[in-house]
Symmetry: C2
Subunit: 311 residues, 2 copies
């Protein structure tokens, strides 16, 4: 259970908490919202392009938060913003929100509370949780994230909603206040996200970073965020793979046993898709000479950087 924590090359800190962007990174909002919108339309016998409905609703997300980030509007929860945007999206798709009862609108609005996890999310989060604090670092409000977790079975240790930090990513306060609630230095907190802009902001705020590729988040025609656009501490194609990169895939491994540079993930496959941009191989003098500061079992190549001898 006790492993040497992954040491972030970018922050120089041992990681204590691994926090996740949720919409797109942990859960598949497009499929989830489209499925619930389609069911809503079907009960009314109306045609709906459900994926377009989901895309259109999501497209209003950033402008709505921007009013709050810029200070032109007081903080309002994401549930509130979704509800306001819902009226607009319904009209655009041929439904009159004024003719729908409050319960139906509420049910549709809480589609965002009932989103399916990506296939690797539960296994990956459970693996990481054995060695690190896990939680969301999302623009969702606490009750939304709590419902999402209970519905999808996400094994969070803690939920710090945007209504607790009272701000929205990518403002620095969103990351810093979260670290503060955890009583951790920003550098001991890692943000995992499928969105490069989120990671840029997290790194600027002093957090460690990991990219997860979600190439179908926006559907088959996705063009953005297909690859890591910077040298994030870790990059992986799934959360299970990330668990390998964090040395968390093998529960209960002896902390002092040495291993080769190639780490095995929870499936026993070599986690060779993990890219650790932060540390070129030449920076591993310990591993090369095979002395006591070499990476320990369960840790990825490079997770213990030059400063590992001091831990």
């Amino acid at each position: 259970m006790t492993i040497q924590p992954y040491r972030s090359p970018s922050t120089g800190c041992g990681i204590r908490a691994v926090l996740f962007d949720t919409f797109g990174t942990v859960v598949d909002w497009r499929t989830g919202v489209a499925r619930q919108a389609a069911a809503f339309a079907a009960t009314r016998g109306q045609h709906l392009d459900a994926e377009a409905f989901a895309d259109d609703w999501r497209a209003l997300y950033q402008p709505a938060m921007e009013a709050i980030r810029s200070g032109s509007r007081e903080f309002a929860t994401l549930d509130t913003l979704h509800r306001e945007n819902l009226d607009q999206v319904l009209r655009h798709h041929g439904f009159d929100p004024d003719r729908l009862d409050a319960r139906t609108l509420e049910e549709l609005n809480t589609s965002w509370h009932r989103l399916p996890p990506w296939p690797d999310s539960l296994e990956g989060l459970s693996a990481i949780r054995r060695s690190y604090i896990v939680g969301p670092l999302s623009n969702g409000n606490t009750s939304l994230l709590l419902d999402m977790a209970r519905n999808a079975g996400l094994p969070w240790d803690v939920i710090i909603g945007s209504d607790m930090t009272r701000t929205y990513k990518p403002l620095p306060k969103a990351y810093l206040r979260t670290a503060e609630f955890l009583d951790l230095k920003p550098g001991a907190v890692m943000l995992v996200a499928a969105h490069n802009n989120d990671l840029h902001a997290a790194r600027d705020a002093g957090l460690a970073t990991a990219f997860i590729a979600r190439p179908t988040e926006y559907g088959p025609g996705q063009v953005a965020d297909l690859t890591p656009e910077s040298d994030w501490d870790l990059s992986a194609s799934s959360i299970t793979e990330l668990a390998g990169g964090l040395g968390a895939a093998e529960a209960g491994c002896a902390p002092s046993r040495r291993t080769s540079h190639h780490n095995a993930n929870a499936h026993g496959k070599a986690a060779n898709a993990i890219v650790n941009h932060g540390l070129p191989t030449s920076l591993y003098p310990a591993a090369a000479s095979g002395n006591a500061a070499a990476p320990t079992n369960g840790q990825p190549s490079g997770s213990a950087g030059p400063s590992s001898a001091g831990t």
Copy 2:
């Protein structure tokens, strides 16, 4: 998994979240702090009355928070207050805090993060969690409660620390802001506590209430809080018994199957120690006539009150 939620006689609401006072109600702070203080003294070869040390430290808890509640001091976390009080307690017991290194003091101060659960806590919380949101409603700060949960294995869905509400129980805001983060009416939230004064304040704030007897929280000579001092919605001698009272002890039972007034708890024993003060038997017309509004399987006698037909 879906059961009719317990309906609080005092609030008239179906309960959605069951929140727990932690120190004394879920974890045994006296034994936990004494054990760690004894270990601290032993490594220094010094004698220490470890139970008295724990009692003395705990005794400074309310006065420290009172300065914040009264507004004479800005909000400070419980970790901070514990740390300030620790110096005083160390001196009283013959240790000079100025001669101890920062790491030792921090280790001792975080004794409160490493407290053993009462024997029934994990099973009871897990049972209740199947049907209700579970979390702490404690004066502890988030990082303290998070460490406590990870160390003891407490299966919280959500942790709303006092640093998120920025106030201390028993001020009404402590209860009301917690319900607000959950997006629930206060009456849909139940506070479970081993302390009658906490329950009085929660009820005054509009919450549902349940008493758990912890007759050795303060050691063998405990004189206060041995019994429920008011007609709380539920009273029980353990959290597993409370799970029975909430209808949460039997997972997966059919929601529409009727049962007798005597509910079985998770151990298969009749949960006859559960006292439901809120609803006299004469208020169960449905159960008496055996119609469809009778209490469903897994629900305690009386959990569905007169208004149950409208749910």
